[in-house]
């Protein structure tokens, strides 16, 4: 087949004017011919460097080959072996900073659309008929997973495949972590997460919602009376930071987590049929520039805000959101105010009326190496707004390690792990994902879950051998 030196096949998307008013998925997905055409763009490099950009080393070149040959079952198999959450990662990975950044086509024509193809193949896989047999564990050892975000889901799946008895404990009433309560359906429909969870259930994984480890059950109970042999902690970094500026507790001010949880987990967009309310006015300011900020500001538009804006103290260059979300936000009419630092939320009768800001300019680089934003003297001004949503970061939740003092953490709250990057300071308690790294990405959490599963298997195997020797 001739290699096609043409531009990246664009993702079909819904009209901005339509999609900005509902929660249906924005990206429509490739059709078969798009996928074939795009896979043909892969140069079959002798030295495929794309794989080095992928935290879980999806064998991208082989995958492209399989797609181009129309062998979707093989493509799906390659993908799923390396990345159990491919349908999700195809949608939410920052490909432009990972696999696609390394692609040899990137400079001249734009990268091969690795993410879009990953999504295409996974979506195809989800449409295939399933056998609804539930696998039976082949081993006796029970393993407990704490938290059902991507790290917990992947760790559970890998261990179930190895034959262990796996239980996932989740604090909320529905599994998925940020994939459920954070990322909105217009980017990641719940049906996809549900499919992933059902696949795990078919592998024999048991999901127990409404259990908070550290509150409902302690780690020592899981080991003791409940007989678990190893525990994986994937509790994420869900604790929202506030800025500490005046007016943050006025009505109409939300953390992005609260705003998005009301929408995604509690379905506030269907109020009053669903009973959790949300108060969205005509003008909404979101502070921050990550994926969370984009999700919040675009959700505000969808809930009827006429003016939805992002306010960020650094410049566009320092924005941390996926590029696709930024572009989609602009198409949908989101305003961006860069180099603008909020210093006070103004209010009247307990309700937000404005956001007082300072204009900034870029100065010398700071500790992070990024240009430090410095205030411009006398540049104070006010955005009249009805809501302020704070999206300035999150920290690991201290709840579990407060209840388990042996579980040691960094001063910023991340769990300490061993040189293998998996085991915590408590024997046979492993951890991964945002709980260890601080807020990061789905694929890094997924990778950590996989690494922990391998370590758990290795450690329990050696425990078994030790026990065998001792018995002889």
């Amino acid at each position: 087949m001739p290699v096609k030196r043409v531009d990246k096949t664009p993702m079909p998307v819904r009209e901005p004017s339509m999609r900005a008013h509902d929660f249906e998925e924005v990206n429509e997905g490739y059709c078969f011919s798009h996928a074939m055409f795009e896979a043909e763009r892969c140069l079959r490099c002798q030295d495929p460097v794309c794989i080095d950009g992928c935290p879980v080393r999806v064998p991208i070149a082989d995958f492209m080959h399989a797609v181009a040959a129309g062998d979707l079952p093989k493509a799906a198999e390659l993908l799923r072996t390396a990345n159990p959450l491919a349908a999700i990662c195809g949608r939410v990975c920052p490909q432009e900073a990972q696999c696609e950044a390394n692609c040899h086509m990137t400079k001249r024509f734009g990268p091969v659309a690795i993410g879009h193809l990953e999504r295409y193949v996974s979506d195809w896989e989800m449409e295939q008929p399933l056998n609804d047999e539930v696998a039976k564990p082949r081993r006796e050892e029970k393993i407990a997973i704490v938290g059902s975000g991507p790290s917990g889901l992947v760790c559970a799946g890998e261990l179930a495949r190895m034959g262990y008895v796996v239980t996932v404990f989740e604090a909320l009433h529905a599994p998925g972590g940020v994939l459920r309560y954070g990322i909105p359906e217009f980017r990641l429909p719940n049906s996809i997460l549900d499919w992933e969870i059902q696949s795990l259930e078919r592998l024999g994984v048991e999901f127990v919602n409404n259990v908070i480890i550290g509150k409902t059950l302690k780690l020592e109970q899981l080991f003791g009376e409940m007989g678990y042999k190893a525990i994986f902690i994937g509790t994420g970094a869900g604790l929202p930071k506030f800025m500490g500026i005046p007016g943050e507790s006025l009505n109409g001010v939300y953390s992005a987590n609260e705003f998005l949880t009301r929408i995604n987990l509690m379905q506030a967009f269907e109020f009053p049929q669903s009973e959790t309310p949300l108060s969205v006015g005509k003008r909404v300011a979101v502070i921050g520039s990550g994926n969370t900020a984009m999700d919040a500001v675009r959700s505000a538009l969808r809930l009827g805000a006429e003016k939805a804006m992002v306010v960020y103290r650094r410049s566009e260059k320092e924005m941390t959101a996926r590029i696709e979300e930024y572009e989609h936000a602009i198409e949908e009419g989101v305003e961006f105010h860069w180099l603008t630092n909020p210093i006070e939320v103004l209010g009247e009768d307990g309700w937000v009326t404005g956001l007082k800001c300072l204009r900034m300019e870029l100065g010398e680089p700071d500790e992070s190496g990024r240009a430090r934003p410095v205030p411009i003297e006398g540049s104070e001004f006010v955005f009249p707004v009805d809501n302020v949503v704070l999206s300035i970061g999150t920290r690991p939740n201290p709840l579990l390690h407060k209840a388990t003092p042996e579980l040691k953490t960094h001063s910023w709250g991340g769990l300490l792990v061993d040189e293998r990057q998996v085991e915590t300071t408590v024997h046979r308690v492993y951890a991964g994902g945002d709980a260890v790294t601080g807020a990061a990405t789905v694929i890094l959490a997924a990778g950590a879950g996989k690494r922990a599963a391998e370590a758990i298997h290795a450690d329990l195997t050696s425990d078994r051998e030790e026990a065998g020797k001792a018995a002889n």
Binding site: N210, V211, K215, N251, T261, L265, Q273, S274, P277, G350
Partner: protein, 280 residues
């Protein structure tokens, strides 16, 4: 799913439920709470663990029907199940021993004081509960409380039982020396205006006072910050740092204002519920 083993009315708008939740019963401490979701699409609401029995695995909750979710819960019958319940949440309050400990309860608050007061009695403390209601028929669990407190002081607005007047007036009399005597430590659980009035009274008399704040909550794990309250000038999350805080340090103005955030929506939800009930 959590099964309702027993349900009984305490007043026309307050019901007591005993539900089978063995893990929660096993871990619960007096003063902690649960979050429940009654049905698919329903809100998550916090409710105090009024009592627990580790052996039978039952916990008791007492619910005052004030809006859509609490009424929806009231529609469930014995033998039926509550969709979701998670807990125990929050921290048990630290109550210094040795002195005269007075619990002040209004609304569901008297029930919420039940196992806390019993625990104090078991610790050998001298305890009094002051419970208030508009009228006699709205008093809850007076007999049960009578068994576990050294003294029970009943106040009704209309004088239909006990002292005629507000709980704070009775509290003031005790501070001034009326039997059973001045408190050394006060625990307030009830409607925000009541806790605030109690705080004012204890502050003037220089008496330590803890209050169980009841802001709106969602997750109850520290993930949303919706339950934030300002205490001693600092932002605290009531679901994980509370619900008990030093009442003298609480910014009640802010807490009251935040509790009214969704009044309009709550009315809409209640109307929607009524029209659905009418149609059925």
């Amino acid at each position: 799913m959590v099964k309702i083993v027993e349900k009984r009315p305490l007043t026309p708008i307050t019901r007591l439920y005993r539900v089978y939740a063995p893990l929660i019963a096993k871990a619960a401490k007096a003063g902690q709470f649960v979050i429940v979701r009654v049905r698919e699409g329903g809100e998550r609401i916090p409710l105090t663990i009024t009592d627990y029995d580790r052996e039978s695995g039952l916990i008791t909750i007492v619910v005052q029907e004030v809006g859509a979710t609490t009424r929806r819960l009231g529609e469930l019958q014995e033998g039926e199940e509550i969709l979701d319940m998670v807990g125990p949440l929050g921290e048990a309050p630290e109550i210094p021993g040795g002195g005269h400990i007075v619990g002040v309860g209004g609304g569901y608050g008297s029930a919420a004081l039940l196992c806390l007061m019993r625990e104090l009695k078991e610790r050998g403390e001298n305890t009094t509960i002051i419970m208030g209601a508009r009228e006699k028929s709205l008093l809850i669990l007076a007999d049960e409380l009578n068994d576990i407190c050294s003294h029970v002081e009943i106040c009704t607005d209309d004088g239909s039982a006990g002292f005629k007047g507000f709980v704070t007036e009775r509290l003031q009399q005790m501070i001034d020396g009326a039997p059973p005597g001045p408190p050394d430590f006060v625990i307030a659980i009830g409607p925000m205006p009541m806790m605030r009035a109690v705080e004012k009274t204890t502050r003037a008399a220089g008496i330590a006072n803890t209050a169980s704040l009841d802001p709106l909550m969602i997750d109850g794990t520290g993930m949303c910050g919706g339950c934030r309250v300002t205490v001693g000038g600092e932002v605290r999350f009531a679901c994980v740092d509370g619900p008990f805080f030093d009442a003298h340090e609480v910014d009640f103005d802010e807490a009251v204002s935040r509790s009214k955030m969704y009044v309009k929506q709550e009315q809409k939800a209640a109307a929607c519920q009524r029209s659905a009930a009418g149609a059925a």
